[in-house]
Symmetry: D3
Subunit: 127 residues, 6 copies
Amino acid sequence: MTERYTKGLNKLNELDSNAAEGLINSFKDICPDLAKYTIEYPFGDVLQRDGLDFKTRELATIAALTAMGNCQPQLNGHINGALNIGCTPKEITEVILQMSVYAGFPAALNGMNVAKEVFLSRDIISE
Amino acid sequence: MTERYTKGLNKLNELDSNAAEGLINSFKDICPDLAKYTIEYPFGDVLQRDGLDFKTRELATIAALTAMGNCQPQLNGHINGALNIGCTPKEITEVILQMSVYAGFPAALNGMNVAKEVFLSRDIISE
Amino acid sequence: MTERYTKGLNKLNELDSNAAEGLINSFKDICPDLAKYTIEYPFGDVLQRDGLDFKTRELATIAALTAMGNCQPQLNGHINGALNIGCTPKEITEVILQMSVYAGFPAALNGMNVAKEVFLSRDIISE
Amino acid sequence: MTERYTKGLNKLNELDSNAAEGLINSFKDICPDLAKYTIEYPFGDVLQRDGLDFKTRELATIAALTAMGNCQPQLNGHINGALNIGCTPKEITEVILQMSVYAGFPAALNGMNVAKEVFLSRDIISE
Amino acid sequence: MTERYTKGLNKLNELDSNAAEGLINSFKDICPDLAKYTIEYPFGDVLQRDGLDFKTRELATIAALTAMGNCQPQLNGHINGALNIGCTPKEITEVILQMSVYAGFPAALNGMNVAKEVFLSRDIISE
Amino acid sequence: MTERYTKGLNKLNELDSNAAEGLINSFKDICPDLAKYTIEYPFGDVLQRDGLDFKTRELATIAALTAMGNCQPQLNGHINGALNIGCTPKEITEVILQMSVYAGFPAALNGMNVAKEVFLSRDIISE
C-alpha cells in the first residue's frame, strides 16, 4: 500500500464510507488494478490537491458527468458524495439545470432524474 | 427587448463587456434569434438564478466544456469570463486538470492548452 | 404563466397529450424550473418557429438523439411524438438507419431498438 | 466498379459535383478503400433509399453533425450539399438553431458558424 | 444474397454463432435492411480485410466502444466475440483499463462492468 | 522523481523521443503537474503493464481517439508513436477505416486525414 493509495482510500471514504470497499470487491476477480488505480490517481492525486475546495470539485464533477451523459452510475455516486461532504441539494440541482445550456435539455433531464433517485433514497424529497 | 433579454445582456457583459456585441453582430445576417436566445435563456434565465454563486457556475461550465472537448471557442470565452468575475487562474487550472479523471487525459490536455492561450493573452503567464 | 409557457404547453401537448403533465409532476419536488424551462425554451420558443415544418423538426430531433446515443428516454418520447403529429413509421426508421453512416452502426442499432419498443407499444408491429 | 459504386458516385455528385473526385484523390495514396466505401455505403446504399426525400435526409444529417459537434468538415460539406439540392438557407439555420435544445448552445453556435462560412462563400450573406 | 452478405454472415458467425440470426430476427418487422447492411458493410467488407488480424480488430473495437461509453449492448457482444475467436480475458481487461487514460475512469469502470457480466456468464470468473 | 515518473518518461520517449520534453515545457508555467501526471499514470502505470504488447496498445489508442473524434493532437502523436515502435502504416489505416463502422464515416475520414498528415511528414506517402 503506497501513500497515494492510503490517502486516496481516505478521500474516497470521505465521499462515501462504503465506496472503497464496494469498488475493491467489485473488480477483485477481474481487474483489481482498476480499483487500485481509481483510488490512487483520482482520489490519491487529484482530489488531494490544493487550490480548489472539495465541494467545488464535486460540483465540477457533477457538471461534467451530467454533460457527458453516459456515466449514470458515477453521477449517482458523486451526487451522494457531494451531499455527504456538505453540498446542498440546491447547489446540485442548480449545476444539473445549468447543463441544459451547455449540453442540451436531454442531458439535464437525465441528470436530474439521477439526482431525484438519490434524493428519494435519502428522504430529501418524497414520492 | 424583453426583461429576460435586458438582464441576460447585463449578465453576459459581466463576463465579458464585448461578448454581447460580438455575438449579436456575428449572427445578425444569418440567424439573429440565435444570439437573442443565447442572451435570453443561458444568461437571462439560468445564470440569473440563486442557489449557486456566479464563480462556481463558471467553474462548472469550464468543467463541462473541457470534458465535452468539442467547444473550444466557448471554453476560451468562459475561461476569460471566469477570470473577469474573479476566479483565480489556479481554480481554473485545477478544474481542467481534474477532468483528466472524468473525461481522460486528452480532454484535460486540450483544455489546458485553451487556458494557456487565454493566460498568455492576459499576461498571466509569459512565453 | 407567461405567453411562452402557454404556447409551449400547447406545443408539447401536440406531441403527446400526457407529456407536459408528466414532466411537471416528475420534477415538481426537486426542480420545478427545469420543467418550466423545458416547456418555455424548446417548446415555447424553438418549436414555435416558422421556416421548418413540425414533422421535419421531429425527424431532425430523432436524427440528433440517435446520433448522440445517450438520451434514450427522450428518443422514445420524440418517436412517439413524431408518430402523433403524422410522421410515418417508415420516415422514422429511415432517419435512424441513416445515422449508421454519421454516428456508426451501434448508434443506429440502439436507436432502432428504441423505435421497436415504441412501435410494439402502439401495435405498429407485433412480436 | 460495382453498381453500388456507380449509383453512389452519381448521388454524391448531386450533392456536390466536385466531392467525389476530391474524396478519391484525397485518400488515393493512403487508403483508397475509405473513399470507395464512403461512396458505396452512404451514397450507394443509404441515400438511394425510398421512404424519405433527399432534402429531409440532408436536414437530418445537418442535425446530427451539428449535435455531435466534432465533424466540422463534413458539416460544411453537407450544408453546401443541402443548398445544392434545394434546401433553403432558412431550413438549414432552423435545424442548426434547434440543436441548441438537444445538444446545447455551444453546439448550435459552432454549427451556425459553419453555416455562416458556407453562406458567405456562396454570397447568400455578405460580410 | 450477395457475396458480401454471405461472407459477412460467415464472419459474424465466427464471432458468435447466434448473432446473425438474432440480428435478423430482431429487425425483420421494423427495418430488415438495418440487419442486412450490418452484415454486409461491417462484416462483409471491413472485417474481411487483410492488414490486421481479427483478434487485433476486436480489441480495437472494444477500445472504441469502451471509450464512446454509449453502446453497452455492442460492447457486450464484442467482448463475447473476442473471447470466441481467441482473445484472452487478460487482453480484454487490459484494453478496457487502458481507456481510463483516454476516455476517463467512468468509461473504464463501466466497460469493465460489461466485461464482468460476460466473464460471469461464461464462468471465467465466479461471483 | 518517483520510480513511476522515471519509468513513464522512458516509455513516453520510446513513443517519441521529443514528446516528454515538449509536454513538460508546454505546461511548466501553467500547470506542471498535468505533465507530471500524464507521465506517471498513462506512461508510468498503464503502458508499463503486461498482458498486452505495446503495439496492440497503440492501435487500441488510435481506435479510441479516432472514434471519440475530438482529440486530433493526441491522435497525431499516437500515430507517430505507433510508427516509431513498429506498427505498420497499413495496421494504422486499417484501424482508422474500421472506425467507420463503430463511430461513423466522418470520424474515420477525419482520423484518416490526421494519418495522412503524419504519413506526409514522414515521407511514407507523397503529395
